[in-house]
Symmetry: C2
Subunit: 651 residues, 2 copies
């Protein structure tokens, strides 16, 4: 088959691609991180590239204007190579920058609640242990076997669980013991009720004893390197999940993974990310891969499936059945994760298809199961997960929020990385009062927290009404008609932005966000109804998820994302996923608690079969709600109730 060379700018990286392959496929091969919210289905318009030269064929689409096409703009996923081509991937189409480390930032801003971690008083007993042993030399009156000599010495210092040792370790044992003068370090790994002697090393290596806590998120992979002796977090790193090139959310990745080869491709991508992070962490502290002996990761159910190479197809299909919720402890090398070759990897247990180990970790971190007081956890992301309960019971549910909290489906939306407007406030005339940009400098686009601020502010100053429509009389010349025919509001003129392009909000953008916030609020309401409680019964509301930490609670209530309760009841969890993974890594007791008291105890409430959710959802598609009585602190703030109008609009 004919192949052509495809050169990507500005990297000047060239790869060969068969005739007819898409530019997106070539970019994946080249390792160029092109955004693709929809996994190449051609429905998100996020993979815009500039074809500088060469022959391509593009399918028609609605995302590009005539002017775009004239300039050579194309959607990478639906543009096919028919000659040697040179392609520029602009900044806004890239998965780039380093994700903010939520917990660190949140700690910096003093936003993580003091409540969080209160329940964290678990005994220090990491999932892997190192024991330095000076074994007595064998003699005729004490000639027990080498293996049993190690077991005996171990049992002198600790309670002896069921021991297991692999053939590979036994095969090296006799020489190793004798060459090291019977002074060795046994590396122990806890696998459920069994302790494995994972390795025996000559001499005393017990001081070098590292583990990794991982948050394997749909968007971001976060890794913490932990000293297992001291519990100290030595260094942390984060990276966007490379799988983004093959789909922005779990559903598009599940759809992509339909063959064994593609499943492997997705696994290799995230494992590659994990290995990049581990390499960086280990280099930071001048350690060796060999010193890292255990990885605990928390992720949503789909991410865990993709990481372990488990087919996630049925997560998407009714009745939404994952392959497994409780995952086996495996050797990290089994899936290619680069630590000590004998080291172990455990993914925290999931509850159901849409309530994963990340949420279970959140619950652990909040300590909400230690108290009789009722708590509600809301993990905000592309998928929203909610857990309500206390020490006696837990009920969870999940709702698809759509990608708008992460900037997806928003004309100038982007993730919370360098250049994203994260907070904004407006003057009464709708002009910018104050704003902040991630990493400082001129803005590139707007991320979820900025978007919530913007919409709350536009509502407050009257530029939009409670249905999210522009009020022309209030917007003045900032409102204009775009080439597509939609009305758009210019937040930042091009001259004030990093890319020289206006940063705008359209009515569909606002509508997307309203749908997202509506699905989360409705889920919370249905969950309350399901357990026969009201928001007033809830003593604590925990906000988790990478996006959640940048949220302005007041604005989130104003748009109707969060319930209108006393603000002091809200607490930020930070990155509960990685924190929970770390707690489990550092304490067998915490892991058992998480498995038994949280994951196994949680009842999954399936929203998709809930009539209330279906019937009342549309009442949430207003700012903040059709029934303003549900938001008493906002009463009278936005003029007359919109209920009748809204009901008509949906009739």
């Amino acid at each position: 088959m004919k192949t052509y060379s495809v050169t990507f700018l500005p990297e000047e990286k060239t790869v060969q691609a068969a005739a007819g392959k898409s530019i997106l496929e070539a970019a994946i091969v080249a390792g160029i991180p092109v955004n693709s919210v929809c996994a190449g289905e051609g429905v998100c318009g996020k993979c815009r590239v500039l074809v500088k030269s060469g022959k391509v064929e593009a399918e028609p689409n609605s995302f590009l204007t005539r002017r775009d096409i004239q300039r050579g703009m194309a959607l990478a996923c639906h543009t096919y190579i028919h000659g040697d081509v040179v392609v520029e991937v602009p900044l806004e189409s890239r998965i780039s920058g380093v994700p903010q480390l939520a917990s660190e930032d949140a700690i910096r801003f003093g936003r993580i609640s003091e409540r969080v971690g209160e329940g964290a008083a678990f005994a220090h007993a990491p999932l892997s242990g190192k024991a330095y042993l000076e074994l007595p030399l064998p003699n005729l009156t004490d000639n027990i076997p080498d293996q049993e000599r190690i077991y005996r010495e171990l049992s002198r210092h600790r309670e002896m669980p069921t021991m297991h040792i692999g053939l590979a370790v036994l095969q090296k044992l006799p020489e190793l013991l004798r060459e090291s003068g019977w002074k060795v370090t046994a590396l122990l790994g806890y696998r459920g009720r069994t302790t494995e002697v994972m390795e025996v090393e000559p001499g005393d290596t017990s001081a070098r004893h590292l583990g990794i806590a991982l948050d394997v998120g749909t968007t971001t992979v976060v890794a913490h390197l932990v000293d297992l002796n001291t519990s100290e977090t030595l260094t942390t790193k984060a990276k966007y999940n490379s799988q983004i090139s093959l789909g922005d959310d779990v559903i598009s990745r599940i759809m992509y993974s339909r063959t064994g080869e593609r499943l492997k491709q997705l696994r290799d991508m995230v494992v590659g990310d994990i290995n990049d992070l581990i390499t960086g962490l280990v280099m930071d502290v001048k350690a060796k891969f060999h010193d890292v002996t255990y990885v605990v990761c928390a992720g949503n159910t789909t991410m865990v499936h993709l990481l372990l190479g488990l087919n996630p197809a049925n997560i998407r299909r009714e009745p939404y059945v994952p392959c497994a919720a409780t995952l086996p402890v495996i050797r990290a090398a089994e899936i290619g994760v680069k630590i000590n070759p004998r080291g172990l990897l455990l993914a925290l247990p999931c509850v159901s298809s849409y309530v994963g180990g990340d949420v279970v970790a959140d619950v652990l971190v909040t300590g909400m199961t230690d108290s009789e007081e009722l708590s509600l956890l809301i993990d905000l992301g592309t998928n929203g997960e909610l857990v309500i309960g206390n020490a006696d019971w837990l009920v969870c549910c999940s709702a698809s929020a759509g990608p708008s909290f992460e900037g997806g489906g928003i004309t100038c939306g982007m993730r919370a990385t360098t250049g994203a407007i994260e907070h904004i406030s407006l003057k009464p005339d709708g002009r910018i009062d104050e704003y902040s940009v991630v990493g400082g400098g001129k803005p590139v686009g707007i991320c979820g927290s900025g978007l919530i601020d913007a919409i709350a502010e536009l509502l407050r100053v009257g530029c939009i009404d409670r249905r999210g429509r522009f009020v022309k009389t209030e917007c003045g010349n900032r409102l204009r008609e775009a080439e597509t025919g939609e009305r758009e509001f210019v937040l930042f003129p091009g001259k004030a932005t990093a890319l020289g392009k206006d940063i705008v909000l359209t009515e569909p953008d606002i509508s997307n966000l309203i749908h997202s916030k509506g699905s989360i609020y409705m889920a919370a309401e249905c969950l309350m109804a399901h357990v026969d409680m009201t928001f007033d019964d809830v003593k604590h509301i925990y906000i988790a998820g990478g996006f959640g930490n940048y949220l302005d609670i007041e604005r989130a209530v104003e748009i109707g994302l969060l319930p209108d309760v006393e603000r002091s009841r809200f607490h930020f969890v930070g990155n509960g996923s990685v924190q929970g993974a770390k707690m489990a890594l550092l304490s067998q007791e915490a892991l058992t608690y998480l498995q038994v008291r949280i994951a196994a105890a949680m009842t999954d409430f399936e929203l998709s079969s809930d009539h209330k959710y279906m019937n009342e959802y549309s009442s949430c598609l207003f700012l903040p709600h059709t029934n303003i009585e549900k938001f008493p602190s906002l009463r009278g703030k936005y003029g007359k109730p919109a209920q009748a109008e809204g009901a008509r609009a949906r009739a």
Copy 2:
């Protein structure tokens, strides 16, 4: 390097060998089973071959007469190839024939004690289980994960132990469940306190459920194919251990195994034997390898080390430390054993370097730990193992008996295979009265039981004295001087034998057997003294070991191998090794009993550090003993006591 072709007759099998390689090395490559008691050290003289043509260089040795050398006879191990050669491997130098299946024969002859197996009332609960599951189809109100659906169904029918499932099984699970219409068979494997879901198969395969019990002996490998549903033994096979080519006893194999490559060679040999046996067994019953899901093997400590690729070097060196006594459950495929690729393999636990899983199995089979009555177990072989005890305590020891019980070190000695004289009685004049040959026909040589008979008979008729020396006046013309200068007694003239060669006994032959029987008897006496008992306290004496079952108890007492107690106290165990392995295979309870109540409870008594053994050993180098008072039933039978004479002879 120059290579030559080496052709072996009568197979006419040709292999290439580098110049300077020994004929023995070429034979191993060719798969020709040449005897080599000493592992090619040139000290046993058992690897005689006939060089028919071609250039070889031989080192001088004392085993071949001038006439032998003139005929082209050579020792394969110390004869080196320097041209294309043709070599005939005569019958007596081959590891050939099929070993007798001790237990079957013993059963046939009604020799296995009724006591044996009395303690065998363990619950039927094989180490692998098959459960056919008709899983309820998932729906929105019951959408637990695939794995958990299987666990739940399993727990409906049995007590739920800690479950484990491998990634490989999980990765196939979603498709498999749906393609098989949720009707599957779960294959369960018990690994200590954990149950592994080893495999999930479509449909109901529970009727096909096979296991293998193995006796991995130094000389013989015996395999039983067992229906795990019915406990029925479907078919059995035995084969000589191919490692014999590299040494007849454990010590020579340990010496041979000094490099990793050689260790692997030994492992591959015995695994090859096991696979040959399994192939035969499976073909016999028209089953598939896939249906075989668990292998339990019993072997002495060295055999178990070689099978698992564990370095046995320290078994031989003081203070005799094995690598491990309790072996991990492994996947059979890890060492190349050909059953279901997910199937498991467990070697029964050993006690010490010279008391292995075979002896532990013997104890289980005897049921001696179920009674308050004192029992003594004697496992006779190249190595003799002894266990004394009852329900409350067990003490064991081992003594090197030398190879003479298996025909080693005996001029016309051979294993108990086709052509071996297994029983013999003499007329008063020293001529043959009656004899029996394994497999019928003319004799090829004499095996252990025949040798014991012969010596007991020669003593009875006066042809030898109590020191094992020929009494010339009684032997007549049957005694002659051999080319080597030794006196030899012609048992069978060449015309009556299969090979046309006289079958003779020499004084060194008799001396070798006396040393063997002496070491066993002395070990028994020392063991009794160690536990402060006498033979009179012992209610039952169990005789185990492949050789043991053909033993004539009366003759064994007459030569002083067994103590002179009431004959009804003796019981034959049969092949306790394979029977014990089978009991464990069929019952988790039996395995636990064997591990906890037998192996872990047994105290090892190290004879090599026992002064009595060293000091009094020589008193056993008489027939039956220097002190005839120890054999009251024989008093007066052989004339005057030989004590004084014997003491002088050793002074």
